[in-house]
């Protein structure tokens, strides 16, 4: 499909694009943080910052896809799916002695399976995504605890697996270069340039119109939840390679970060509208903010509240912009 026929966007449209705002925000936050802490712009610090961002970036991507798919789509279970997948991988690597690389592959498939439970209940049975994923949030989180009796697992430090989480290539952490960047690149390309991306927006905008246009709405929506689960498992693989231990609480509260990033990135909560490239910029914003607060000795517990404020603020912002736009 060609975009040549579309009218060129005016300067005003470009400036009021959410992504411009987010990009300016990254720079502004970065400047502010480097004023607050002299260590902020050091190379080692920037590395650690993106290492942390890789994991929640994957979760945010999954949540964004699910929300874009419409019909009240949301995935609250991503954090718990990450915890459970991490434990699953630990069981494979430590208890069964599997190669960490092989375990990682199986774990991603396992994550897709966890997502398919959500997808089945939402897309096939037509249950409300909010409650379905809220129940799997607790179900998966509790299963992760039960499987380890609250303890932690290891067995990841073999066969050079740690390289995935602890090394840098040309100054970019391996998990960003090899996992996060490709994932977002493929997703952004698919959203903007493929028929799949168009179908995603169609089902997100109107179930009925999409079905009349010949799209298997339920199948596509089912797959979105599977992708979200697989991305959460990929996040678990990266976490395990980075920390070399799998804890049952690894993903605790990450759903808040993931949803905050998706909403801040301009993904409209009722589906069908938003850019994944905006999500990538929002990820940069949140990572800079969190890391800056970390450096300023602001603890995790306070950061949670800051994220909550960002989430509510971003949702208000979306509404203000949405009200001005036609439709």
């Amino acid at each position: 499909m060609t975009t040549g026929a579309l009218p060129r966007r005016s300067m005003r449209d470009r400036v009021s694009d959410r992504r411009v705002f987010l990009a300016v925000l990254v720079v502004a936050l970065g400047a502010l943080m480097s004023l607050l802490s002299p260590y902020f712009l050091e190379v080692g610090n920037l590395l650690a910052m993106t290492q942390y961002g890789a994991v929640i970036g994957l979760l945010a991507l999954g949540v964004s896809l699910v929300i874009l798919g419409g019909r009240g789509g949301i995935d609250l279970s991503v954090g718990s799916a990450l915890s459970l997948s991490g434990i699953f991988m630990g069981l494979l690597a430590q208890n069964l002695g599997l190669s960490p690389w092989l375990a990682a592959l199986v774990t991603v498939a396992f994550g897709a399976l966890l997502g398919s439970v959500n997808g089945f209940m939402v897309a096939r049975l037509g249950l409300p995504p909010l409650i379905v994923t809220l129940s799997t949030l607790f179900l998966y989180g509790a299963l992760a605890q039960v499987l380890t009796h609250g303890g932690q697992l290891g067995g990841f430090g073999r066969e050079g697996f740690a390289a995935l989480g602890q090394t840098a290539i040309l100054g970019v952490p391996a998990q960003v270069l090899l996992v996060l960047a490709p994932a977002f690149a493929v997703a952004i390309w698919a959203q903007n340039r493929t028929a799949l991306g168009r179908r995603l927006h169609q089902i997100g905008t109107s179930d009925r119109a999409a079905a009349l246009a010949g799209i298997d709405v339920n199948k596509l929506r089912f797959r979105l939840y599977c992708v979200s689960g697989a991305l959460a498992a990929l996040g678990a693989v990266v976490t395990n390679a980075w920390l070399l231990t799998a804890r049952p609480s690894a993903g605790l509260g990450m759903e808040l970060q993931a949803i905050t990033i998706a909403v801040l990135g301009g993904i409209h909560i009722f589906g069908g509208r938003g850019h994944l490239s905006g999500v990538l910029l929002a990820l940069a914003d949140v990572v800079v903010l969190s890391w800056g607060l970390q450096l300023a000795q602001v603890g995790n517990s306070v950061q949670t509240g800051v994220l909550g404020l960002v989430l509510v603020g971003a949702a208000l912002l979306n509404n203000l912009i949405g009200r001005r736009a036609p439709g």
Partner: protein, 330 residues
């Protein structure tokens, strides 16, 4: 009603479905009690049942609050952390020597104010309830963490009726909870405010066209949730005796679970607090019985999560079948 075009074979099965829907929870409760009476020694003793009541009284009020917003087709996932904030303030004021009744009033008002934040964002800011309460839940957690400031607050029951006190073996707090459920059930069924909640939950636009003040009613519902959380917070203090950094966080899911398992439709417009009371009894007895059977408490989350998923599946599937039958009549 014109039923001329309906094949008569359809009507009884729809009635059966409604019957099954209404009878399911009582049947499950009976089955549960029989199961645990056999499987867990001491389950059916008066002392144990009184303990169950005392241990789930605060949860019951949270669940009652959540019921109100679920009837509106909304949700509130901030009730747990909200309880934590109010519990800290209430316990601190009580320890500081304020008169108990004043502490009760302040707690209810504070809860109402926190609920008003949710209501304002949902109604005024037009943010979806899940995003709003997910955000405020995070904010309340942080507020409690800052207030807590590495110091646990130890406090007894503010008034005896909000603690583990019993009169003739009957826990007083159970009577308080029952009375509040009674009032709420009456309001929902017989007062204008209650009927408006159902109308909005069924069809907000239709309700607006009929002259229901949708914004005001929805806002009031979130404030009411907060006020109920305010009372629950003092019961929490009376039950646990200490307010820590994460107080109340663990109560959010069971509260929503009680609503859903009780049969209030998550899609709004159908249900009530008495159903929630049934759902709460089911979950509270489940958690208690499982512990008495010697299953590690880590399994609680698995059981409650599974119960919610099954209850929602059953609710939506029967509701859809019923809608289809009704659709056939038109």
């Amino acid at each position: 009603m014109t039923t001329t075009t309906v094949p008569s074979a359809f009507a009884p099965s729809a009635r059966m479905l409604v019957l099954l829907r209404n009878a399911l929870l009582p049947l499950l409760l009976v089955a549960e009690v029989i199961f645990f009476t056999v499987a867990a020694p001491g389950f059916l003793s008066a002392a144990n049942l009184a303990n169950v009541v005392i241990n789930s009284a605060d949860l019951a009020l949270l669940a009652a609050g959540v019921t109100l917003v679920v009837l509106l087709a909304g949700i509130d996932v901030s009730v747990g952390p909200m309880l934590g904030v109010v519990a800290w303030v209430g316990a601190t004021l009580f320890v500081a020597g304020l008169p108990p009744l004043l502490v009760v009033v302040i707690s209810v008002l504070l809860g109402g104010a926190l609920g008003a934040i949710n209501g304002g964002l949902v109604v005024g800011g037009r943010i979806s309830p899940i995003i709003t309460t997910l955000g405020t839940a995070a904010i309340f957690k942080t507020v409690l963490f800052i207030l807590w400031d590495s110091t646990d607050v130890f406090a007894g029951p503010v008034v005896p009726a909000l603690g583990p006190a019993r009169a003739g073996g009957i826990p007083l707090v159970g009577l308080v909870v029952l009375a509040m459920f009674g009032v709420l059930a009456y309001v929902l069924r017989h007062r204008v405010f209650g009927r408006r909640l159902f109308a909005i939950g069924n069809d907000a636009e239709g309700a607006r066209l009929l002259g229901v003040p949708v914004a005001r009613t929805s806002f009031a519902a979130y404030v009411l949730v907060g006020a109920l959380v305010g009372v629950a917070a003092l019961i929490y203090v009376g039950r646990v005796g200490v307010v820590q950094a994460t107080a109340g966080n663990e109560l959010t899911l069971p509260a929503i679970a009680a609503v859903v398992v009780g049969g209030t439709s998550i899609l709004g417009g159908e249900g009530g607090v008495l159903r929630t009371l049934g759902g709460l009894a089911f979950i509270a007895l489940l958690q208690n019985g499982v512990v008495l059977m010697g299953v590690p408490p880590l399994w609680n989350g698995v059981l409650v999560g599974a119960a919610v998923a099954l209850a929602v599946a059953f609710d939506v599937l029967t509701r859809r079948t019923l809608d289809k039958r009704i659709g056939a009549k038109r």
